[in-house]
């Protein structure tokens, strides 16, 4: 019985280490363009090679600006409309949420990354996925705002790397992105919980046999 306990511990320990979801907190100072009738764009797309599945949520959207209330959605985007939570899957080439927006003084939302590519990278995929957030000072989404990337118009991009990590590239000085926040137990916690369960089971059986 002792041997089986040790083997169980070894098996559980050999499971690939699970990673936590990644959450970024976005806080954009839009005061400089307050009152501008513009637009917001969010897209989350796979890469051109072999890409592992990943999901992205836009959470807790808040602003004193005004959403136009008529989003244009392409690809695997569910939920919404803003400020309700949006969920993007990277299952198709172009997954996009675009909506008119009259800017107020600020804009906040959280981005949560999760799914196999984040939580359990397979090590064989060759492409990551990329999230892009853009602000425009026109309703058509052609004039970038609050960004130094005037070529592509991206305010911020987040790359989901092949190892499950994420890389943030921020072109907007008006945008602050909070450090990643973990939202689920660490993978080692699962192992300890399972080991504890097995330990308790052993104690109960030992007690019964001792009688």
């Amino acid at each position: 019985m002792r041997q089986s306990f040790l083997v169980s511990i070894m098996v559980l320990s050999s499971i690939a280490a699970a990673r936590a979801d990644i959450i970024y907190q976005f806080n954009v100072n839009t005061g400089s363009i307050s009152g501008t009738v513009g637009s917001l764009d969010f897209n989350f797309n796979p890469g051109p090679l072999v890409t592992q599945a990943a999901t992205l949520d836009i959470l807790d959207f808040g602003s004193d600006g005004t959403l136009a209330g008529g989003p244009s959605i392409t690809g695997d985007v569910s939920g919404g409309p803003l400020p309700t939570t949006l969920t993007f899957d990277n299952g198709s080439a172009f997954n996009d949420y675009f909506e008119g927006f009259t800017f107020g003084s600020s804009l906040t939302f959280n981005v949560r990354l999760y799914g196999p590519a984040v939580n359990s990278p397979d090590g064989i995929s060759t492409s990551g996925s990329t999230f892009a957030f853009s602000m425009f000072s026109d309703a058509a989404g052609t004039v970038p705002a609050l960004t130094s990337d005037l070529t592509d118009g991206f305010a911020t991009t987040i790359d989901v790397n092949l190892d499950g990590t994420a890389t943030v590239t921020n072109f907007s000085s008006q945008t602050s992105i909070g450090s990643p926040v973990t939202a689920v137990p660490e993978p080692s916690g699962f192992v300890l919980l399972a080991a504890g369960g097995l330990f308790m089971l052993r104690r109960v059986r030992s007690h019964i046999s001792g009688r």
Binding site: D41, N43, F44, N45, P46, G47, P48, L49, T51, T74, G75, N90, S92, A93, F94, D96, F98, T126, S127, G128, S129, T130, F131, A132, S134, F136, G141, T142, P144, L150, T151, D152, G153, F154, T157, D159, V160, L162
Partner: protein, 708 residues
């Protein structure tokens, strides 16, 4: 008793001479043909109604004649009784009771029976003689009645005179009135000898027909109308083996059959099907006379010119096969429906002629004439081809006819046929008329045969002539037409169909399409195309130059418009094409390459030495592109020499690399790094894709080491 069997004029004369004739006549009877196979079992008169019926007016007319010479007799004959015109007690002609050879009673009935007894078929008597016997018998029997009445003494002399008068009158009537001879007697004999029913129409028996044979009985005309209501039908009782048939007697040719389902269209000279349903397959049988072809589109038999065209067919008509049949007038097939030929190319023509199988005589003389146009063809180039008829083939010299003048030859058909066929071919260069003349000669005189049944081209055989001539140079699109005329003996000339060719004097043009530079692989695709005014491009010859060397043919006369050229890495190549059109015009020669390329020396880095990864692709609304990065890492143990290029192969349709460094071998590529990569080192390059269809973007990266 014996009188009824006396058959000679001598006996009859004796009969007339004496009322005691029965005691004096010792003539032997001539047997009728009662035992003959020709004697019908139902022989006998169709009617036995005594002497009559005669119209009263006829009897009165006879009494008037009698009154002129014997008024008392005429007065006695006042009863106007046809069987007893003398009106006496014992003068009734029905009193005669002869029994041999008939069972008839009365002289007139006996006469009827005689008419209805087949004598003529025996061969002993001709038609005319037999009737005379019957008539003489009648006369004798009538006179006998009168004689017996006189002997009995109960009738006065005027009555006896009247009796004799009417006996003569009746005889005169049956012996001399034509209707009695040609119709009544003929009909009775027909029934008796041919066993035809009394209602059958009678044959037109000649009274002089000494060999009255035994034709079959004649059928009644059908109860219905003729096959059509054209009014062109006549019932011929002798046709169809004596069974009778409707015979076409109209001025136009008869229809294909007698079904009544055909209507004559005079505007087209055609019998058109108007029956219910479809016409017979392929029209069934053509009209029985004339020359016809079946026009399936209009469902009609159309009259062809064979000396006919709706007129009676000539004894030796010819048949020129209509267009579509190769056996008519054939020239160079040429290219396409305009039958393009090259300017300056000799054109061959053959002219075929048939003596149709239904012709009734062989053709003795046939003349084929072909009118050439000097403004279109070069008369000096006319050369004769083979000449044929039936199984004979003549090969004239190939020397142009203009050089040898006239060509003439004799073909001796003996011993199979006692004819020599003289063939003369002549070209009148002034008029352009080229003529072949076949003449059937009598070997003994070497003059045209006078035997109407002799001729070199029997029915059902054909002949042909051929020649070649070169058209003069002309612009593309110029038509060259040719038509021949064939004359059989004295029949009217018949034109062959017109054979038309179109000149193509324009050279084709072509070029090799531009090639990617450099080519990634030593084996690369080369494409070319061409156009031609006129016949169209037939094929191409592709020339190649290797490293600026002289051009040599790579592909010769190929109909393909692309090919894979196998070169060598580091070599440069130039290509041009030379097209040939369908009539043989060849494109103007070239000396310069139309497409050039070189084969790269860069090499592919195997996947065991490099790992290629990519980021996700963020979509820019500004540029409307998908943007990301591609990273190449040296995972090997040796350095990879720069520069390095990423070639994007297998990109989906509609997806393009917007920021490509260039293209190679038809593929876009990005220069990754100009420097080398040591083991473990990576290099990253931005990628930007245009993807208007938002399709899944993917590609197979191929990493090259070495400059393109």
């Amino acid at each position: 008793m014996l009188a009824s069997t006396c058959r000679t004029l001598f006996c009859l004369a004796a009969t007339f001479a004496s009322v005691a004739w029965s005691q004096q006549c010792s003539c032997q009877p001539i047997s009728p043909v009662s035992a003959s196979a020709n004697q019908c079992s139902q022989s006998g008169p169709s009617t036995t109604n005594g002497c009559g019926p005669f119209p009263v007016s006829a009897l009165n007319a006879a009494r008037a004649i009698l009154a002129a010479t014997n008024p008392a007799a005429a007065a006695a004959a006042s009863c106007l009784n046809e069987n007893n015109p003398a009106c006496g007690i014992n003068t009734s002609f029905s009193n005669y009771n002869g029994s041999n050879p008939t069972t008839a009673t009365g002289a007139c009935d006996h006469h009827d029976y005689c008419y209805s007894t087949c004598w003529a078929a025996s061969g002993d008597f001709d038609f005319n003689s037999h009737k005379s016997v019957c008539d003489f018998d009648l006369h004798a029997e009538l006179l006998r009645v009168c004689a017996v009445a006189e002997i009995l003494g109960q009738d006065p002399q005027p009555v006896i005179d009247a009796c004799n008068f009417f006996a003569d009158a009746y005889y005169f009537g049956v012996a001399n009135i034509p209707i009695v001879s040609s119709s009544i007697y003929g009909g009775d004999q027909t029934q008796a000898c041919m066993c035809c029913s009394s209602s059958s129409p009678q044959p037109n028996i000649s009274r002089n027909n000494a060999s009255f044979a035994t034709p079959a009985c004649i059928s009644n005309p059908p109860s219905g109308p003729p096959p059509d209501n054209s009014g062109n039908w006549t019932w011929d009782p002798t046709a169809n083996g004596g069974q009778g048939a409707w015979v076409w007697t109209g001025p136009i040719p008869p229809p294909p059959d007698n079904s009544g389902n055909w209507t004559w269209d005079p505007s087209r000279g055609a019998w058109v099907w108007n029956g219910s349903g479809n016409p017979p397959s392929n029209g069934g049988n053509p009209p029985p006379t004339g020359c016809w072809h079946w026009d399936a589109a209009s469902g009609s038999w159309v009259s062809d010119p064979c000396g006919g065209g709706g007129q009676p067919v000539s004894p030796n008509p010819i048949q020129i096969i209509t267009s579509g049949d190769p056996n008519d007038k054939v020239g160079n097939k040429g290219a396409g429906s305009p039958q393009y030929v090259r300017s300056g190319q000799a054109t061959n023509y053959s002219i075929y002629f048939d003596n149709i199988p239904t012709a009734t005589a062989p053709a003795q003389k046939v003349m084929v004439t072909d009118q050439l146009t000097s403004s279109v063809v070069d008369m000096s180039t006319v050369s004769l081809g083979k000449i044929s008829f039936v199984n004979n083939l003549i090969t004239p010299p190939s020397t142009p006819l203009a050089t040898i003048g006239t060509y003439s030859t004799n073909v001796d058909l003996r011993p199979a046929q006692n004819l020599i066929v003289n063939i003369v071919v002549a070209l009148n260069q002034n008029t352009g008329i080229l003529t072949w003349t076949y003449t059937s000669l009598d070997p003994s005189t070497m003059q045209p045969t006078t035997d109407p049944l002799a001729g070199f081209l029997p029915p059902g055989t054909e002949g042909s002539v051929s020649f070649s001539v070169t058209p003069k140079p002309a612009a593309t699109g110029t038509q060259v037409t040719n038509q021949a005329t064939v004359v059989f003996d004295v029949n009217p000339p018949i034109n062959t169909p017109i054979w038309a060719n179109t000149i193509d004097s324009t050279r084709p043009v072509s070029k090799v399409s531009a090639l990617p530079t450099p080519e990634l692989s030593p084996s690369f695709s080369v494409q070319w195309s061409g156009t031609d005014v006129g016949a169209g491009v037939q094929d191409y010859t592709i020339y190649v130059s290797d490293n600026a060397g002289s051009f040599t043919a790579w592909l010769t006369n190929t109909t393909a418009t692309q090919g894979n050229y196998i070169g060598s890495a580091g070599h440069s190549y130039g290509f041009y094409s030379i097209a040939r059109d369908l009539v043989g015009n060849i494109e103007t020669s070239k000396t310069m390459a139309e497409a050039t390329t070189n084969v790269t020396t860069a090499v592919i880095i195997p996947s065991t030495q490099v790992a290629t990864t990519a980021s996700g692709l963020a979509y820019s609304r500004v540029t409307q592109t998908f943007n990301g990065t591609v990273t190449v890492k040296n995972i090997g143990t040796t350095m990879i020499a720069g520069p390095l290029e990423v070639v994007f192969t297998a990109l989906p349709s509609g997806v393009t690399l917007a920021n490509a460094t260039g293209s190679i071998g038809g593929l876009t590529y990005l220069t990754l790094s100009s420097a080398s990569l040591v083991p473990g080192q990576s290099a990253t390059v931005n990628v930007q894709f245009q993807n208007p269809g938002n399709v899944q973007i993917n590609f197979t990266p191929v990493i090259y080491s070495g400059g393109f």
